[in-house]
Symmetry: C2
Subunit: 353 residues, 2 copies
Amino acid sequence: MIANQFYTPEFHGEYELVSIGRLDLEEGGSIPDCHLAITTWGEINEARDNVILITTWYSGTHQIFRDAYVGEGHALDPSKYFIVCINQIGNGLSTSPHNADGPNADLAMSKFPKVRIGDDVVAQERLLREHFGIEKLALVVGGSMGAQQTYEWAIRFPDKVERAAPIAGTAQNTPHDFLYTESLNEQIWSDPGWNGGEYKSNEDVEDGLKRHAHIWGIMGFSTEFWKQEVWRALEFESKEAFLEGFLEPYFTVMDPNDLLCMAWKWQRGDVTRHASGDLEAALGRITAKTFVMPISEDMFFPPRDCKAEQELVPNSELRVVDDVLGHLGLFGVAPTYIPQIDEHLGELLATKV
Amino acid sequence: MIANQFYTPEFHGEYELVSIGRLDLEEGGSIPDCHLAITTWGEINEARDNVILITTWYSGTHQIFRDAYVGEGHALDPSKYFIVCINQIGNGLSTSPHNADGPNADLAMSKFPKVRIGDDVVAQERLLREHFGIEKLALVVGGSMGAQQTYEWAIRFPDKVERAAPIAGTAQNTPHDFLYTESLNEQIWSDPGWNGGEYKSNEDVEDGLKRHAHIWGIMGFSTEFWKQEVWRALEFESKEAFLEGFLEPYFTVMDPNDLLCMAWKWQRGDVTRHASGDLEAALGRITAKTFVMPISEDMFFPPRDCKAEQELVPNSELRVVDDVLGHLGLFGVAPTYIPQIDEHLGELLATKV
C-alpha cells in the first residue's frame, strides 16, 4: 500500500466504503475483503423500483457523475430516483493495487490479481442486494468501461435490469481497442520508475504517465477537436498548454498499477464468455430496454462498432451522441453533450417496461 | 555515421546517389554536400515532357514504388514515362543523420539540422534540372509525407507541375497529426538506449522502436482492419504475430535519428508558409490538374481533412481510395488498392493540360 492523496474524499468528495467480504475472481484467486466505494443520491421508494446504477470508466470515479450527470433537471434526477454510483475495482477508491492493505495486504501493488468486468458486476450485484436490499434496477448506465459493465449486467442478470444505457463502449472489446490499451500500458511499463510495479510513488512513473496522457490526446479526442481548437473553450492558449494543463495532470496523479488493473479488465471485456463466444447469442439474452449510445467522433469505440452490437440486442435503439470531443466527450465539457444524454436517458426512463 | 545494413542496395535494390552540392536550409544552416538517392524507370522522350516524379513517405523509400506502384500495366508505366523517385532527405538513403560523413560529418546523428518539406522540394527541383535537364513534370505523386511534398511542389513551382496527386496526406499538417507524430517520437526519446541521439546502433533503441511500431498499429491501420482480421490475408495467425512479424521488424531495422528527422518535417509541413498563413491563398496558387486522393479509413489523414483542402485547389477533384487498411493501405497490400490508384492516376495522366 502506498499513500496517494488523489484517492481521498478531499479530492473526490464524500463516498462510502462498503465491504462485500471475499470476492472470488473469474481468473482464479480472490480478494479477501473487497471494498467498493459508493456514492448515492436521492431516496429509495417503497416499491424499491426507482433505483439507477451508474458504473465507472477507466480512470473515472463517481466524481464526474456528481459534477456533470446527476442532479435535479437532469435525467439522473435524485428527486425521482435512488442513484447509486459504484466505483469499479482497481479505480483507486474501491479495492485497488495501491490501497490493498489489512486482509488484502498480500495483493498489494504488483501482486494484485487479474480482475474481470464480470467480477465487478458480481460484486456490484452483491453490494446492492446485501447492503441495500435492491433486487431490481430501473436503469444501469455507464460510459466506456462503464458500458462494458452495463452490458455485463444486462446479460448476467437480465431479470434485474429493466433498462440499460451503454454509452461509448462495447459489449465485446474490439482488437483495435485491445491494442490501443496495450499502447497505453506500454507507456507505464517502459518507465524505469515503474520498476515492475513496485514503485514508491506514482511520481516515480511521471514520465510514463505523461506519455500515456499524450496517447489519450490523440485517440481520446477526435481529429476535429484539435482542428477546431475546442480546447480554447477551456481557456488554454495552445494545444501544448492544454496537454500540460489538462491531460497530463489528469493522469499523473493516478496510480500506475490501478490504471493497469483497469486496463487489463478493459482489454478483455467480452460478454460472449456467457455464450461460448457467440455474440449474437449473448446479446440476445438482454431483456432490458436498451439505448446504445456511441459518441459520433469516438476514435476507438466508433459508432460503427456500437451499431453492430446494437443490432443484436432485441429491444434496443441506437442513439448516437454528437460530440466533436470524441470519446472524452464523456467528461461533459461540451455544452451540447449533457443535454443529449438527458434527452436519451429521459426518454429511456419514461419507457414502460 | 553508423553502419546500418538496412540502408543498402542489398535491401533496397539498386539506386543512384546524386550530389546536388550545398543545400541551404529554411531553418538555417546547410548540408554541405547533399546527396539524394534516386531510382528511375523508363526513358525521357525528346520533348522531355513525359516525366513523373514520385516523392517518398515517412519510413518509406523508392522500394515500395518499385514493388507495388510502377510497372507496365500500371498508370506509372515505364514504357510511356520517365519516372524518377527521389528519396527524401533523412530517409536513410539520401543524406540523413545516420549516414552523414565526409563533408557532412559535422551533421552526424544528434547534430543533424532541421529539414523542412520545402528543403526537400528545392533539392529535388535542383536535381531534376541540373542532373537531368528536366523543367516540366507531367505528374508529381506521393503518399503521406510524399503528399506534403507534392503540394509543396505544386505551390512552389506551379509552372513546372502539370498534374499533382497527393495521396493520403495534407498540404497543411493538422494539429492532431502533429500530436500523433509527437507520440511516435516520444517512444524513441524515452528509450534510455536513444541516449540523446548518440546511440551506437539502432538496436540500442529496439524497445522504443517497437513501441513506436505499436502506435502505428493503432493509428496506421483502421479499427475495421483489426476487426476484420485483415492480417490473416498476410498469413499471420494472430494480431500479436502480425505485430511481431510485420510492424515491429519493419521499424526496428530503421535508424531512430532518421525517423526523428522525417517526423520533424512531417509535423511542420505547411504550404501556408508561402502565403502568410493563408491556406486558401496558398492552395489557390496551384495550377496543376490535381486529384486529391485520401484513403477512406485513414485515421490521421481522414478524407474530411483532405476534402477541405481539395475544395481550395482550383482545378482539382476529390478521389477517395477505398481501403480498410487505412493509412497503411499505402503499402498496396489490399488487392483492390493499386487498381484504384491506377484508375485515378491513369485518368489524371490522360487529362489534357
